[in-house]
Symmetry: C2
Subunit: 332 residues, 2 copies
């Protein structure tokens, strides 16, 4: 694993400096500059949305700060959660006087720190709510959905909650929209190769030459099986079959599809997979709305993909199509 970096100890701060230099709509704030927020500040009278997590997943998390999406983000070291102090500062930065939704992936460290930050701020009178991304179907059984990890599907929750907040909805309404987006989104990932934390002596894990791993997490958490690399169509079929087996009750026939690169897998391969997925979804009687194909949530140089389905209803479809803009995603 070769990286174009300087001292690994400065990796995150140099990356955040470059991100904000290239995108002046974002700025660093908070303790040690580990909050990324909208430069123009929180919008008074709008429900705030805050997220957070470890570095190494760009465009996630910091890249989704922008109008119609997230207002502020607390960011940790590579694959490590943000500190309590950063969470407090991020929540404050997102506060426009109508309460703040904490919307982030279901990881123990992140949950603990966002909870502690919340207790502190609720004592100060701030109104808060929480929705956790739990879209990774490989990480726990369907009966234990609340134990699942949050992975790429969280971008649907950002988009949908962000649009609802922009409509002037209340904290309860924005929270309900985010919860519905999570409830109706399913993701599975597969990796062909590992990534390496800057400064680490070894890759985070290893996948033998010629092998792949189905169901892996975005930090290399173990998956469902590891075996010989299959053709793209077979991989697409297995991922789709596993997601369709968990179609939410009462869902209609309209879905959005996210074919996401985990990093090194190029767009060409994403489109080869998407072609098969579109054919299969059509045969299954599902209509694809607003497909997303590209690197939305990565693990640095990891090769592999994830597939997410967001099962839409009229409200989710309207919110997904609403205008939004961040450095990596512009709609409308």
């Amino acid at each position: 694993m070769k990286k174009l970096i300087n001292d690994p100890a400065h990796y995150v701060d140099e990356m955040l400096d470059g991100l904000c230099a290239a995108h002046p709509s974002l700025m660093r704030d908070g303790p040690a500059g580990r909050v990324i927020r909208r430069t123009e500040g929180a919008r008074t009278g709008k429900v705030g949305i805050v997220t957070g997590g470890g570095s190494g997943h760009l465009p996630l998390f910091t890249g989704y700060v922008g109008p119609g999406l997230v207002d502020a983000c607390s960011i940790g070291n590579v694959f490590e959660g943000p500190t309590v102090d950063s969470c407090i500062a991020a929540i404050k930065a997102a506060d426009g006087g109508c309460g703040v939704l904490r919307l982030y992936g279901n990881y123990g460290g992140d949950r603990m720190n966002f909870d502690m930050a919340g207790e502190f701020l609720e004592d100060e009178g701030l109104e808060l709510s929480t929705v956790l991304g739990t879209d990774d179907i490989a990480s726990a059984a369907p009966e234990e959905r609340s134990k699942r990890r949050g992975v790429a599907g969280i971008v649907y929750a950002y988009k949908i909650a962000g649009a609802r907040a922009d409509e002037g909805a209340s904290l309860a309404e924005v929270t309900a929209a985010a919860a519905k987006a999570v409830e109706r989104t399913r993701t599975i990932g597969c990796a062909l190769s590992s990534c390496q934390i800057p400064g680490a002596a070894e890759p985070s894990f290893r996948i033998a030459q010629g092998d792949m791993e189905m169901g892996i997490g975005i930090h290399g958490e173990p998956g469902i099986w590891r075996d010989t690399l299959k053709p793209a169509d077979a991989v697409a079929d297995e991922m789709l079959d596993r997601l369709l087996a968990e179609r939410p009750e009462g869902s209609g026939h309209r879905v959005s599809v996210l074919v996401n690169s985990l990093g090194a897998t190029p767009l060409e391969e994403l489109f080869i997979l998407y072609r098969r997925l579109a054919e299969r979804l059509d045969k299954a009687g599902l209509t694809v709305v607003q497909p997303l194909v590209g690197p939305y949530v990565t693990s640095m140089e990891m090769a592999g993909v994830s597939l997410s389905l967001c099962f839409l209803d009229d409200e989710l479809e309207r919110l997904l199509a609403a205008p939004a803009s961040c450095p990596f995603w512009k709609i409308g």
Copy 2:
């Protein structure tokens, strides 16, 4: 090199099918479907812009078809030029009755086929012009700029020519704008690892563990030196110094910067490089306008980056900022 593909013989066609399925603003056309054009067709009364080249560089070339950019694209197999017939069909697809600019990178095969296509169509009465991308400073000496290859900097020419055409300019004016964009753009690339053509038994080239190559082309053409991997700041400095040494005569103090991933290199590393470049450019008295940081022109899973500078004047700056939209780049 592991790939999520099916039969390598179907790689390009499956990729194009997926691209158009995900982005209905694009459609396949021409012999064997190797033309990608705007689904809504050429705009009558607007100068057409056509490009083309080999596959394996997404978003280049097909991904830049859209309003304010390119009207049609002929596409070949991986790293192979498009056929004459595809070039003819692409030029026709771009024709809105006001002539067509052929705007593509300076490679022998592409030039031969676009020239033959042009002779055929000029006999039919179509008015054509040509501008070749020649931005890669590592590929020939400054005295022989016309012999240089076209690499990532061509996206500036697309954007600038596309905006000029949208303003209702004549073929001569659009051609002049594209030529000025090429004349004022300089690029250098460096690779950390190779890529592999689908179906090939071996990677296109090899770079030893711990090494990098400065000045490499987007198909792995040999560079200036190959040595131990340097820190990001040292790489940024060398690339920038080489580009600034070729600052076009009479250029002002405003530049656009493109920090481009060749594929596997993640956004985090691009921003670490950009941070250094922004500091250095500021010290050099140059003002950065509209920086571009991301994967704009790739070589599949190649790890590495390229750096482009486009030295602006008032006209180029206006055209670069004009509205444009394609699946991978939205401005305004």
